[in-house]
Symmetry: C2
Subunit: 502 residues, 2 copies
């Protein structure tokens, strides 16, 4: 296929405009990131998708440790009786959980393998671990000296989703869940907010995704939380994705699991707890915020591969000098520091036509492609293509200049991706002051609507039914501001962000 | 408690000599590494134990990637019908697996929560993933160009063990499992051996545990493997622990799951596969190989904390200069490279008596402790204690010399730990040439017995019944040597290592 052909078509069919949902599936397939498993509702995260998760993990794990938390690992099973102890909690998860009832398989009279060895008490595969950890903390915490307890785990969890979509909603997913216990409400609240800010830092500064963040409204809170903080991001179809949550659990779990400590004055008190998590869902938001009709586009900071080097080899010729130059450049970049780590590079020596080869990296969203052929070798240049620019746009640079400027090039790409997404976010956000305006906004393009709202079920159900819109959060930027509710006309309404959500 | 008291007693009760099994449990408790969960057969890996696992993971993950493998993630569920496809495989795992049969909980007439939403097909929580991955590879592999496929995953697995012991045998454990597919038998065998050597490198050179390694005998092979390679280590009670295995699966899974490829000549062939894994069990071997009656002793390369700095503070005095010096030393060491990473340090400023404080780090097995008090400050010295030396043995060093020599000190500790364990391994290994000698060896202290043996069930069952001894492996060092079977008198017997095993 000639280069011209590539330039006039897009890699992904259908395009975003044609069918956003199908486009999303095709982008994942084109980049070979993940696929639906034959196991109902579960996904297989393939190496390229998992490589992105490893980058997110490494970045966030450092942040979690730098803020004084330690990793641990808890069992995957939650006994049914534990889950029941917190009433709101079990209500939230009973409808969608995987239940282990037997511990072996034996062959029946017909020669068929069947579950056998019935358990006395069914075990639930953790949908989240508050209930299990509550029991542990009640034993581990005795005195104020044991507080705060600041633990986190990286784990898989299972929620039996009926309608699944890769990365966004799957029966099993990977995440981290932090669980902390504190002597005072203030301290637990400060922790909850600190982890919210940590997620904002991760998502805005590393995933290049601009956010709104704030408090969840009553119906959208975590089952068992007093306050849930959330980060919310706008996708290109103007729907929004909840990217992570941080919960102030008050004394709800402390009372349900009897987590008490002897305070300095000798009195016995319940602790205050928090929990917080982000998941492989973030990969879905990366695709939907940054992707275009050529595929995914990865921000350099979390791209598994930041620079791909493509030697332009000619059949039947001596290509050794070109290959040597390509590998030398790769080694040099791998010794260059970007964001505290060595630059991640690869030399692609596959036997493919140059256009086909370049195109495969476009679809994988690699930020920088570098071509080196005979011409570049002779002129001591390289030919650079950026994923953030249209396919076919190339610039020639002196090799030495490229090496000297690579960290700046990556920084510029990272910033330009964030800025583009932020521009879109602002464009699609509207402050709304009447119900009519609200309906018109969502009957047209939609996006984020900011409006004063009295948090109550009636109007919430109405807009869900009429417009498929739900309250996303009371943004922290507006946390102290009140107005007149656009639905009920009542005063003292909090400024709330509404959107259609994934 | 005065220092003298610490010096005349040991931290762990009972001692190894008194009750090895109880000693093991108490070492884990004293170092706060893990505990039995209320969830049957499962463990909670606490931060210090998990920190060791993170070091092992980071080390092995790099080795796995450096040998061309990529990480991915597969679902936790294996449909029952998949597990059944390889006959030996299902036989091996059916007796001890967690079975998910329902996908929700609902309240019955008595107000009790009960499993509901019965699944059409039961799902097994992976005891290992060959069966699930077999199905995937059959779709992913079409042509010789897709080979080799070199994937690995870090995951939790569940095997419903009836008698459990922390780290050694638990219903859920953490591990990595590599799964590769190849065009030829030779290539798959080379991969299997490469990963065996990788495990030898990890365990000998990082965990400082000397090994025997070789082929498993017929009854000890992985269910579904043609050849299982194993690493076997000697504990201080002269029992041995299998530390990891690498399986050559031949075409067994390829045929069960129809994994075929079109070769260069166009013909359709079955692939050859391998799988290999090590688990959190390795932490158990660290404890049992290196621990003493004061607790665990960690080799520097995988110790979560390599140097602990203990400022000797005096109540009612100005301790600022001492604290500053302690933190300065910590920062300096954290910028010092040992084994390609920064040295891991901590300044312990807890309000505890110096002896109590030091003792807590002894029990956690930290390789080097450094005390800095007024005296050291004035003389520009530090006071060093090594975990490999008896408690109370201290040496004063000029601060500058300590900083200049720290990497050498850590290297020496690492080597001395390996050498001590290797000396013991050699001492406890005996070449045996008759049945009487074999019985005498195991009726006394036992250890590793090397003897020519014809691999057959009768003698194997006999020694298991009489001595609780089993064949561990045919060591690669003796793979081509044969002799006369000490039980049957038959010639052509392979040299086999026997031991009592965990």
């Amino acid at each position: 296929m000639a280069l011209e052909n590539f330039m006039t078509k897009t890699a992904i069919t259908p395009t975003r405009a044609q069918d956003y949902s199908q486009w999303y599936q095709q982008v994942i397939k084109a980049a070979d990131m993940a696929e639906n498993s034959v196991v109902r509702g579960c996904m297989v995260i393939k190496p390229y998708g998992y490589g992105i998760w490893e980058q997110i993990q490494a970045t966030l794990d450092k942040m979690i440790k730098d803020t004084g938390h330690e990793n641990f690992y808890c069992p995957i099973f939650v006994p049914l009786s534990f889950l029941e102890k917190e009433a709101a909690h079990v209500d939230g998860f009973a409808k969608e959980c995987a239940v282990v009832t037997h511990h072996k398989l034996t062959t029946n009279a017909n020669g068929e393998l069947q579950p056998d060895g019935k358990l006395e008490e069914p075990l639930i595969i953790r949908p989240t671990s508050e209930a299990l950890i509550g029991e542990m903390y009640s034993r581990w915490i005795q005195s104020y000296r044991d507080l705060p307890l600041l633990y986190n785990q990286w784990a898989n969890v299972v929620r039996w989703e009926m309608r699944t979509r890769i990365f966004l909603r799957t029966s099993e997913f990977l995440w981290q869940e932090g669980h902390t216990a504190h002597a005072s409400s203030d301290e637990a609240l400060a922790e909850t907010k600190l982890m919210l800010q940590t997620y904002v830092d991760l998502v805005e500064n590393h995933l290049a995704i601009p956010l709104y963040y704030g408090e969840k409204t009553a119906s959208e809170k975590f089952p068992g939380a007093d306050i849930t903080y959330t980060i919310e991001a706008l996708m290109q179809d103007n729907k929004v994705l909840q990217g992570g949550t941080s919960h102030y659990l008050g004394q709800n779990f402390a009372k349900a699991f009897n987590i008490k400590f002897a305070d300095k004055d000798g009195s016995e008190k319940y602790v205050y707890t928090s929990s917080w998590g982000v998941s492989t869902r973030l990969i879905g938001s990366l695709i939907m915020v940054h992707g275009d009709d050529d595929g995914i586009k990865l921000p350099p900071k979390i791209a598994p591969l930041q620079v791909c080097i493509l030697p332009l080899l000619k059949a039947g010729q001596d290509n050794e000098a070109i290959l040597t130059a390509a590998h030398q450049l790769s080694t040099t970049l791998q010794q260059t520091n970007y964001q505290g780590k060595n630059i991640r590079t690869k030399v692609d020596t596959r036997e493919l036509r140059p256009g086909e080869k370049a195109w495969s990296w476009v679809k994988k969203g690699v930020p920088v492609r570098v071509e080196i052929g005979q011409r570049e070798l002779e002129s001591k240049q390289v030919c650079i293509s950026l994923r953030t620019q249209a396919y076919g746009m190339k610039q020639f640079m002196a090799l030495d200049d490229f090496i000297a400027n690579i960290t700046q090039i990556l920084t510029d790409i990272q910033n330009s991706m964030f800025n583009a997404a932020q521009q879109n976010l602002h464009k699609q956000t509207q402050e709304i002051s009447s119900k009519d305006e609200f309906y018109a906004f969502f009957q047209n393009n939609g996006g984020f609507a900011l409006a004063p709202w009295i948090d109550e079920p009636q109007s919430e159900q109405q807009i869900k039914q009429d417009l498929k819109v739900s309250p996303r959060c009371v943004p922290l930027t507006h946390i102290d501001k009140v107005g007149t509710c656009i639905f009920t006309g009542k005063t003292g309404a909090r400024y709330t962000l509404f959107a259609r959500a994934y």
